[in-house]
Every structure is written in C-alpha cells, then in structure tokens.
C-alpha cells in the first residue's frame, strides 16, 4: 500500500507489549465518497491515546469510545457510519459516504 500506515501497527505492538489495553479499528467497507479507503486503520490504547484515522476526523471520537468497550470486553465489533446515522451514533460523515469499521482488541 502506498499509504504510510507503518507506525500505527508498530505502535499497536509496542503499546500491547508495554502492558496497555489496545484496540485496532479498520475500515473494511466504504460506499460513496468515503474519506479513507478500506484498510485504513486507527489504533487506540486504554488511556484514550490514538494514532491513524478511519475518516477525515468525523467519526474518530465515536470509534475511540467504542474501542474502549472492545478493550474491556475483548469482543470484536462492527460499526457503521453514514450521513443519516444520527439515531445510531450521533455522528456522520459530512462527505455523504458510508463506512463500516471493524474494531478488535489486540491480545
């Protein structure tokens, strides 16, 4: 991939080895004009520190919140964000696209 996602996965490994709870969120599907392509990822630790992105910044806050739950439960989760998604997450993509984000714990 021509994207420079290297430090994200390295950080995921380093954080986990340092004893932090870590989750990885990855864009797995996009429809319409999504800001980041499938495969883009965001790594989050249990202190709320995160690196990378799954959108242009519109839904990262919600993804981080969900990731905290995933770190707790250890169960993966699929999130969906779209422009008219107010009922589910209260956030949406201003660009009008829809994305699905897979959130999993690194363990």
């Amino acid at each position: 991939m021509l994207d420079r996602d290297e430090d994200i996965l390295k950080a995921a490994e380093d954080w986990q080895k340092a004893g932090r709870g870590v989750a990885l969120a990855t864009v797995v599907e996009t429809w319409g004009s999504a800001p980041r392509p499938a495969g883009s990822s965001l790594v989050i630790n249990d202190e709320g520190t995160f690196l990378g992105s799954v959108s242009g910044g519109c839904v990262e806050g919600a993804v981080v919140t969900e990731a905290m739950d995933v770190i707790q439960s250890g169960k993966p989760r699929m999130l969906e964000f779209g422009v008219a998604d107010e009922t589910a997450w209260n956030v949406g993509l201003s660009c009008g696209g829809t994305i699905r984000v897979f959130v999993e714990k690194v363990a």
Binding site: M1, E6, K10, L24, V106, A107
Partner: protein, 233 residues
C-alpha cells in the same frame, strides 16, 4: 488481532515483503497470508488481485464475509541522474506515494538547490546503490545519458529484480546500450526488461511531460494485469 499475528505482520512489513491479513468479520477469526504462500492458498485469485491493485477489500468466500487487508511495501523510486527531468520526476513521484532517492556522482547536478527536500546521494552507483536496498518494490530509472553512470546502475537494477526499469535514450542509443550491457555479462532477458525509450508514448516534450510519461508507465507496470500491461507498453 492476536499479538503473534501482529508481530508477524510487522516483521513482514519491516522486511518489505507483502502480506494480506484475512479477517472473518463475523467471528473475528484471522490469519496472515504471506506473499510466498499465495499460490497454495484457497483464496489465491482474490489475494493476487488485491495485492496487484494494492487495495484492501471485503469478499465473500465459502459463505463467509472476509476482509482482505493488503500490506504491500511502500514503492520506491530510484532515479539515477540528477538532471532536469529528475527535477520534475522526483516531486511527481512523491505525490504518487513513492519514496524517492536521486543518485548522481556529479555534485554540480546532485545539489540540494536543484533538489530541495529530496534525498540525494552524490556518489557513483557502486557506492550509492547497495545501501538503498533496491528491491522488487522499487522502480528504477537511469536518466544521466552517461554510460559510465547508467550502465552499472542498470546492472544493479537487474540483480535486484526491480518491478520497473527504464532508461533514457532513443532506440539507437538503447541498441548501443544493449551491446555494452551484454559485453558486461547481462542476460538477454534482463536487457529486454528495460523500458526504452522511457515512458509511455504520449508525445512528451518538456522535462515535466517526460516525467508524466515515466510515472504513467511505472503505474501501468505496477497496476495492470500482465496481458493489459503488454498492450499499454
């Protein structure tokens, strides 16, 4: 993701070897398929297609929804020759996501004033190239027009199996280059790999246009399936 898988994935990426992470998005089950194991994998066709296009994607196979996350090394471009074309080529290649290095032993050419922000190595190819880790994810262009510099550089590119090798020069110049490389022990199949005249035939005139033609040709070689590739070249 299991820590072992993450660790293995990071090791593959550090070694600049491509790999694809296959995730069952319902169960969360995962496996890492290294490029060397693609040919034996049941998802062979899908894996090869996604790696070639460099795109991660969701697929359905055996009643499962799978996400194929492609981890291909960042493509590199090594430009031998800090000439006018290279001044246009380096920033264009960078905008396309390539890690660019310019090599030219002639310090008057390889100067930071002419190449701001581009890694420059003002050494002869035999000294400059080995530390650059030229590999199968490297596009290699030789544009000095000087056989003393271009020829040893091309021999290095053959040895490292670059996915694209191009050299500046007319058909006549290229025929002479072929003779010289053959005399230095290059194989016929290696010489045939050189794209020369360099770049897609788009009638490029200015250095910037030639840079566009070169990057278009490199993109075609990187992305097109083998058959369409021949048609484009």
């Amino acid at each position: 993701m299991k820590l072992e898988i993450l660790h293995e994935l990071n090791a593959e990426r550090a070694a600049r070897r491509p790999a694809i992470l296959v995730t069952d998005t319902e169960s969360g089950e995962q496996r890492l398929v290294k490029a060397a194991a693609f040919s034996k994998d049941p998802l062979r066709a899908e894996l090869e297609k996604q790696l070639r296009t460099g795109k991660s994607a969701s697929v359905e196979a055996g009643g499962k929804k799978l996400f194929l996350n492609v981890y291909a090394p960042t493509a590199k471009l090594v430009i031998v020759g800090a000439v006018h074309i290279s001044q246009a080529l380096a920033p264009l290649a960078r905008s396309l996501g390539y890690d660019v290095t310019v090599v030219d032993p002639r310090t008057a050419f390889a100067s930071p004033e002419r190449f701001p922000d581009v890694p420059l190595v003002a050494e002869w190819p035999d000294t400059a190239l080995p530390p650059l880790n030229v590999d199968a994810y490297t596009a290699f262009v030789a544009v000095t027009h000087d056989p003393k510099i271009d020829d040893p550089a091309l021999l290095h590119a053959f040895e490292r199996n670059c996915f694209y090798i191009g050299a500046l020069g007319s058909r006549k110049t290229h025929a002479k280059r072929g003779d010289r490389l053959r005399a230095q022990g290059a194989k016929e199949s290696d010489i045939a790999r050189i794209h020369a005249p360099i770049g897609l035939a788009i009638g490029a005139v200015s250095p910037s246009e030639i840079a566009v033609a070169i990057m278009a040709e490199i993109t075609a070689v990187l992305r097109l399936p083998p058959k369409e590739k021949e048609e484009a070249a």
